[in-house]
Symmetry: C2
Subunit: 491 residues, 2 copies
C-alpha cells in the first residue's frame, strides 16, 4: 500500500497515515474486514519507521475503525453507512466553481430518466413493457458462447490485441454480404464497425452537425438520439409522423428554411411509434435530400423484423446520389452485450468517421468482433430473423388482441407491421407521465411518450414493447394497464 506523505508538513507522519486510512474506511474505499498490510510491510513501502505505522494503527483502533486478531492480522471494522443527504448538502456549497458550473447544465438525459422510472417500479410480479430491446430468452446465447469459446481457443495473440479501427475485416465482409442480400449496395471498404449503433449515431452527428446547428427529426423519435442532440448542443427541428412515417410536407418546410444540416430518420418500425415509412415517401425523402443537399442518417435498428406486408427498400438502396448514411446493429436481434453496430457510407465521410472512432475509443473489442464473425453468416442471420419473426409476431398479435379486448373507449393505438413497439394514446386529460405511478403500483409499466420528444413535455402517448414476454404475461399486463386507466377515468 502507498500513501502520499508530506514530509515537510507539520502534521506528524503517523497522523497522515491515520488520516488517509480513516478517510478510506469512512467513505467505503476500504470495506469492512479488508486486511490492512502488516505494520512492518507498510513501514517499508512508505519508507517510515515501524513505530510510526504502529502509532497510526493504535489510533485507528482507539477510534473503533480497525480490529486486530493476534497471529492473523489487522482488519477494517464495519462502519455505519455515511449519511449521504447531509454529505451532499454540505458538498454543493463547498464544490469548486468548475464543478458548480456543471450543475447549471441541462438535467438528466431521457435515458437516465427512463432507467430511474424502471428502477422505481421494480417489484415482485412486475410486468414491464418499458425496455427497448428484444426478449433475451430468445437470444442465441449458447451458440454465441460456443463461438466465443472457439475464438478463445485459437492460440492467436491477435484475439486479445488492438485491432483495425475500421473493424475486423472478415466481419466487415460478412456485414456487407448481409446488406447486399437485403438489396443494399455495400462492400467491406464502406463498412465501419462501432461499439453499438449508439456510437455510430454519436460519431455521425458530431461529424456533420456543429453545435448550434439544426437536425431534422421525426417527433416522436429515438430517445438516444435526442440525448445526443442535447449533449452536442444541436437543435432539433421536428416533423410529425403518422402510420406511414414522417410527413414529407413538414420535412420539406424545414428543409426550405435552409437550416437543416442532417435528416435523422428511423424508416422501419420507428422507435417509439412503430410507423413504417411508405414506399412513396421513401422516394420523396431521398429526392428531397438530394434537392436540398442535406444528408440522411438512416437508423435501421430492427429493419428486418417484419410480421406482415412487403419489405420496403432501405433509403440507402434508393439513394443514387450519395446522400444516405446507413446505420445498423446486432444488439436488438442477437446479443445486447455484443455492443457491435456499424455504419455504411462512402466518400470523405468514411475517413472522418474512422478518425473520430479512433479518437473516441481506438477500436471496438477484437474478441467480440471475431466471435460475432465466427457465429454469423447470411444463412444464420436469416434463421435468427425467422425465429424472432415467428415469436414476436405472435406476441404482437397477442398484445393487439388484448388491447382491443380490455382498453376503455377513448384509448387508441397503432398496429405496427413489424419491430417491437405499439404506440398508445390515452384519452384527455390523461398523461402517460401522471399515470406511471399508478400503473407501477399495479405492477405494470411502459415508457412515457414524453421521453421521445425534444422538449420532454408531458404527453398522452406511451410506448409498449410487445416483444418482451410470452402471450399470457402480455395479456395480464395489458389487463392491469386497462384497469388502471379505467379507474382513473371513472374514479
Amino acid at each position: 500500500m502507498r500513501i502520499a506523505l508530506d514530509r515537510d508538513s507539520q502534521t506528524p507522519l503517523y497522523r497522515q497515515i491515520c488520516r488517509f486510512l480513516e478517510g478510506q474506511i469512512n467513505n467505503g474505499g476500504l470495506a469492512a474486514d479488508t486486511r490492512l498490510p502488516a505494520s512492518r510491510d507498510l513501514a517499508v513501502s512508505l519508507g517510515v519507521g515501524r513505530l510510526t505505522v504502529n502509532n497510526a494503527y493504535a489510533e485507528l483502533e482507539s477510534k473503533g475503525l480497525i480490529y486486530r486478531i493476534p497471529g492473523s492480522g489487522t482488519f477494517v471494522l464495519q462502519q455505519s453507512p455515511a449519511q449521504p443527504a447531509e454529505g451532499v448538502a454540505a458538498g454543493i456549497e463547498s464544490l469548486p466553481a468548475w464543478q458548480q458550473a456543471l450543475l447549471d447544465q441541462p438535467g438528466k438525459s431521457a435515458a437516465q430518466r427512463q432507467d430511474e422510472l424502471i428502477e422505481s417500479a421494480r417489484s415482485a410480479g412486475l410486468i414491464s413493457f418499458a425496455e427497448g430491446g428484444g426478449d433475451w430468452h430468445l437470444f442465441p446465447q449458447d451458440d454465441f458462447r460456443k463461438a466465443l469459446m472457439t475464438v478463445l481457443k485459437q492460440d492467436d495473440a491477435r484475439v486479445l490485441s488492438y485491432g483495425d479501427t475500421a473493424g475486423f475485416l472478415p466481419l466487415r465482409q460478412t456485414i456487407s454480404r448481409i446488406l447486399v442480400s437485403q438489396g443494399i449496395p455495400a462492400n467491406q471498404e464502406q463498412v465501419l464497425i462501432t461499439s453499438g449503433s449508439q456510437q455510430a449515431l454519436a460519431l455521425i452527428l458530431k461529424q456533420l452537425v456543429p453545435p448550434g446547428e439544426c437536425v431534422l427529426v421525426e417527433n416522436p423519435t429515438h430517445m438516444g438520439f435526442i440525448d445526443l442532440c442535447h449533449a452536442n448542443g444541436v437543435r432539433m427541428l421536428e416533423a410529425p409522423l403518422d402510420e406511414q412515417g414522417m410527413l414529407i410536407e413538414a420535412a420539406e418546410k424545414h428543409l426550405n428554411s435552409g437550416r437543416v444540416r442532417l435528416i435523422y430518420t428511423v424508416p422501419n418500425f420507428q422507435n417509439p411509434s412503430g410507423a413504417c415509412l411508405s414506399s412513396g415517401r421513401r422516394r420523396q425523402l431521398v429526392n428531397l435530400a438530394a434537392a436540398y443537399g442535406v444528408p440522411i442518417l438512416e437508423d435501421d435498428f430492427v429493419g428486418d423484423l417484419r410480421y406482415k406486408g412487403q419489405a420496403q427498400p432501405a433509403l440507402k438502396a434508393l439513394d443514387k446520389s450519395g446522400y444516405v448514411i446507413y446505420v445498423g446493429t446486432f444488439s436488438k436481434m442477437l446479443i445486447p452485450a455484443l455492443r457491435i453496430g456499424y455504419v455504411l457510407c462512402e466518400g470523405p465521410l468514411y475517413g472522418r468517421l474512422l478518425a473520430a472512432k479512433h479518437s473516441a475509443d481506438i477500436g471496438t473489442s477484437t474478441l467480440m468482433q471475431r466471435a460475432l464473425d465466427a457465429y454469423i453468416n447470411v444463412g444464420r442471420y436469416e434463421a435468427c430473423l425467422r425465429r424472432a419473426r415467428s415469436v414476436y409476431g405472435r406476441r404482437r398479435q397477442a398484445m393487439l388482441t388484448a388491447l382491443a379486448r380490455t382498453m376503455p373507449r377513448g384509448v387508441t393505438w397503432s398496429s405496427p407491421a413489424g419491430g417491437l413497439f405499439i404506440w398508445l394514446k390515452l384519452p384527455e386529460p390523461l398523461t402517460a407521465d401522471d399515470l406511471f405511478v399508478r400503473a407501477s403500483a399495479a405492477h405494470v409499466i411502459y415508457t412515457p411518450g414524453s421521453l421521445f420528444t425534444p422538449t420532454g413535455a408531458p404527453s398522452p402517448w406511451l410506448r409498449l414493447n410487445f416483444a418482451l414476454h410470452p402471450p399470457p404475461l402480455i395479456e395480464s399486463g395489458v389487463q392491469r394497464l386497462a384497469d388502471v386507466i379505467r379507474r382513473v377515468l371513472s374514479p
Copy 2:
C-alpha cells in the same frame, strides 16, 4: 435476397435487377463464386415473374459477370479489380456538396499518420520501437482466456446483456481497492468504467472544454489527446517539460491569462518523453489548479511501472480541494483488447460523465468487465506489475546501454525511471521525420516526435519504446538506428 425495385420506373424490372447485381459484382459487394439465389426463389422474394429474373441472369451472363453450373446453381464470376485511381478522381467532382465540405477539414489525425508510417515500414526482419503499448508476449493471455471461459460458463444471461452504464459494480469495487492500495482515495461510487482510457479522455474533454476554448498541455504530449483536441476544436496552450516533468512557471503563465479550462498532464513516465513529475512540482501544480480554479486531468497510463527510485504520490492523492480527475487503464499492463479504462472523480462531473457515456455507447461490454473482475484483484495486479517491472526494467537498461555504446556524438536521450519510452534527440539539422524513410529501409522504426506536438511541425525528437522486444533485438535495432544516423551525419 431483396432488391429495391421501382415499379413506376420506365426501366424494365429485369434491367433494374440486372443493374443492382452488376453494381454489386463490380464494387465487390458480391464476391467471386458467391452463389446467387435460384431464379424461382428470387422471383418469389421480389414479387416478380420467374421470366424477369431469368432475363436478368441471362444479361449478366452475357456480360461475363456470372456463370452457371447446371444442376448446381448460378455464381458470381471473378472480376478484374476496379481501378481505384480513376474511380476516386471521378468521385471527388461528383461528390455531394456536404461531402466535399468535409475535405476542407484538417487532415489525418496523428494516430492515423502513425499507423500509416508503421504500415509503410512493414518488412521481414523489421525491429519496431514505434508502438505505444507493452509486449503482448508478457500479457497474461492464458489466464485471461481462462477467466473469460469461466464467466461464459456461468449460466447467467446477464453476462450477455446490457449492464450498468457506470460499469459492473464488483469491478468498480476492485478498481477502487487497487487505487486505495496505491494511496489514492477512492470508492466504487466515484469510479466510472470506460472503453479504454481514450474514451475517458474524450468524455472529460468534451464535458469540460467547449470548442474554441483552451486546454493546457505538456509539449510534447500524448498524441491521442492532441487528436481529441483537434477533433473537438479545442485549442492547446503548451508548457514545455524537462526530466522533472512540466515546467510549473510556464504553466502558471498560461493559467494567469485566464483562458485555460483544463490542465492535461501525464505525471508518471510521460508519453512520449518518459519524464516523471517531481514531488515538489506535483504539490505546486495541485496548488496552482486550486488557486486558479482550473481542474486537472491526470492521465496515469503506466503509473506503477517504475524501475528505480521512490514512487511519487498521484496528483489525485495530493488533491484536498477536489480539482483532480484521475484516469487509468488496464490496456497497457494487461490485455489491450480489454478496452477497459476508468475515471475516478466526484461531484456533479461524475453524473455528467455518466450521461455522456450513455450517449456515447450505452456501456462497455459486460462480458469483458466480468472477465476482468474474475481475473484481477489487488494481489494479482501487483504480481503482474512485479513481472512487468522485472522484464521491462532489464529492457530499459539494455536500450540505455546500447544507446551509450552505439550513438554518434550529438545524439542525446532521456533516462526514464519508469514507463515504456526513451525520448531521443537527433543533432541538428536532422529531423526524425526526414530520417524515418532511411531508418525503415534499414529495418528499424520509431515514432517521430512531430506526432506528439500540437502543430505537427518536423522535430529532431523521436520516441523509442524499449518494452517491446528482448535485449538482443533491442541491441540490433539500436545499432541499426545508430548506423543510419552516422551515415546521414557523415555521408
